[in-house]
């Protein structure tokens, strides 16, 4: 098993996390650090992929702002996505040059991580070939979008644990009108915490990606790694 750091960043704004990923990806590209898995939550934010369509954001930006929701353009693949507290965001910064398989395989592996993690709660997640991500009974429980820069992955997959699902109505999920989001809490009808979900995600990530996870603190990542 190859080593991979894992860091729980807690609540971090999207732009700050994007900057952090960019710098970590550069370091990984230079082989100055090992692969690193970031687990975090974002304050409410709508993000658009590099070629995402603004018309898939159903609420004007000033109205979003009134609701305390930011709007950001991203460099990841995919269309509109909504992030908020209660959603576990999983960002693996991994060097594809050191991995077997292709990029599509890596995306599929991330989907598998979520499938295995939510199975621990008795939830059966499914892939939808037309729209990558994880779906449960036609509702999206995890959204995925990746960017590869010089062989290193950025962004990843986000699992709805216990977010306010009504807030997801500000976008067309995956650019599709009428699709709804769901969550572990909603499906299981019991309270599930992000921390609980993170533990299962951690185990599934190690198994599926075949890595040995080593904890690194947020202060170490922000201070020592980035200088």
């Amino acid at each position: 098993m190859k080593p991979c750091w894992i860091c729980n960043l807690g609540l971090m704004p999207y732009e700050q996390a994007l900057e952090l990923q960019t710098r970590l990806a550069f370091l990984r590209y230079k082989k100055a650090i090992d692969d690193i898995l970031l687990l975090l939550e974002h304050p409410p934010v709508v993000t658009l992929g590099k070629f995402g369509k603004i018309e898939n954001v159903l609420v004007a930006e000033d109205e979003l702002n009134k609701r305390g929701i930011s709007l950001c353009r991203s460099n990841r693949g995919g269309d509109a996505t909504f992030h908020c507290p209660g959603q576990l965001v999983i960002y693996p910064i991994m060097d594809m040059r050191s991995r077997e398989g292709n990029l599509r395989r890596f995306l599929s592996d991330l989907e598998e991580v979520v499938i295995e993690a939510i199975a621990a709660f008795g939830v059966q997640g499914e892939r939808w070939s037309e729209h990558p991500g994880i779906w449960v009974e036609g509702r999206q429980i995890a959204a995925i979008g990746l960017h590869f820069v010089r062989g290193v992955s950025m962004h990843g997959i986000s699992l709805n644990v216990n977010p306010e699902l009504e807030d997801f109505r500000v976008i067309n999920l995956c650019g599709m009108a009428g699709k709804e989001a769901t969550s572990l809490t909603r499906i299981t009808k019991r309270g599930v915490t992000v921390e609980q979900a993170a533990e299962y995600v951690r185990g599934a990530f190690s198994a599926v990606l075949d890595v040995r996870l080593e904890d690194i603190s947020r202060s170490q990542v922000m201070g020592e790694v980035l200088g």
Binding site: L27, K30, K31, A32, R76, N102, H147, F148, E214, G227
Partner: protein
């Protein structure tokens, strides 16, 4: 905190800008446009007055008839072809009809054509006469991407000034976005319009009909920094070296 062997060299932490030569040495870009079902014209490219200045005689270009948009209209006829460095009329690149000879390196599982140069980031460069070169994506790129359907390849326009290690193009598909980087500096004088009609050649004929651009090189000496076929194939066989 675990230290990697290069952790004492941390240009990002020191604010040191990565040199372009370092990019060539260390690159291993995983990008690739494979199966492209449509093409999009990149926003932000130069258009209008294409009176860019190459290293030699300024070309006379025709203004692109394609308007930069986010998606391609396959029925739109893109611009006709390009100028020459000598000003002797239009230049039209016609790819060979027969497959190039391949190199054989143990451990290299992708096809590597023996008649061109390569960047470590899976872009091939085939020098032509008069400081021109054809650029395309390697077989390795399309294997890495692993997508045959529903992808979009975003390319630059004719007249775009490419910078070494600058943006060459982008592949978007299946929730993934992959950037490509130019191994040369120059001006795009031709874009492979046939890709609008048959994008699958990116997968089936990456070294023949799957070419992307013809570029007028403004720094031909950059070709010296590229890998020869054996070097490139060897790098594929030893990715962790």
């Amino acid at each position: 905190m675990k230290q990697s062997k290069d952790s004492n060299k941390n240009p990002a932490c020191q604010g040191e800008k990565l040199s372009r030569r370092d990019f060539l040495r260390h690159a291993g870009l995983v990008t690739g446009g494979i199966a492209v079902t449509s093409m999009a014209v990149a926003a932000g490219c130069t258009d209008g007055d294409n009176t860019t200045t190459p290293a030699t005689t300024p070309p006379t270009t025709t203004k692109p008839t394609t308007t930069p948009t986010s998606t391609v209209n396959p029925t739109t006829t893109p611009t006709t072809i390009l100028p020459t460095t000598t000003g002797n009329g239009d230049f039209i690149y016609v790819p060979p009809t027969s497959n190039p000879e391949l190199v054989d390196v143990v451990g290299c599982t992708s096809k590597v054509a023996a008649d061109r140069l390569y960047s470590e980031e899976h872009v091939w460069v085939k020098p032509l006469e008069n400081n021109l070169a054809v650029i395309g994506m390697t077989d390795k790129m399309q294997l890495l991407l692993g997508l045959v359907e529903r992808g979009e390849l975003v390319l630059n326009l004719v007249g775009t000034e490419l910078e070494y290690d600058g943006w060459l193009g982008n592949f978007e598909g299946q929730k993934m976005n992959v950037d490509m980087y130019s191994p040369v500096t120059g001006i795009i004088i031709q874009v492979n319009d046939d890709l609008y009609i048959n994008s699958r050649v990116l997968e089936s004929e990456p070294y023949l009909r799957g070419w992307l651009y013809v570029v007028e090189l403004s720094k031909p000496e950059e070709l010296d920094n590229l890998l020869d076929p054996i070097e490139y194939a060897t790098a594929q066989a030893n990715p962790n070296a």
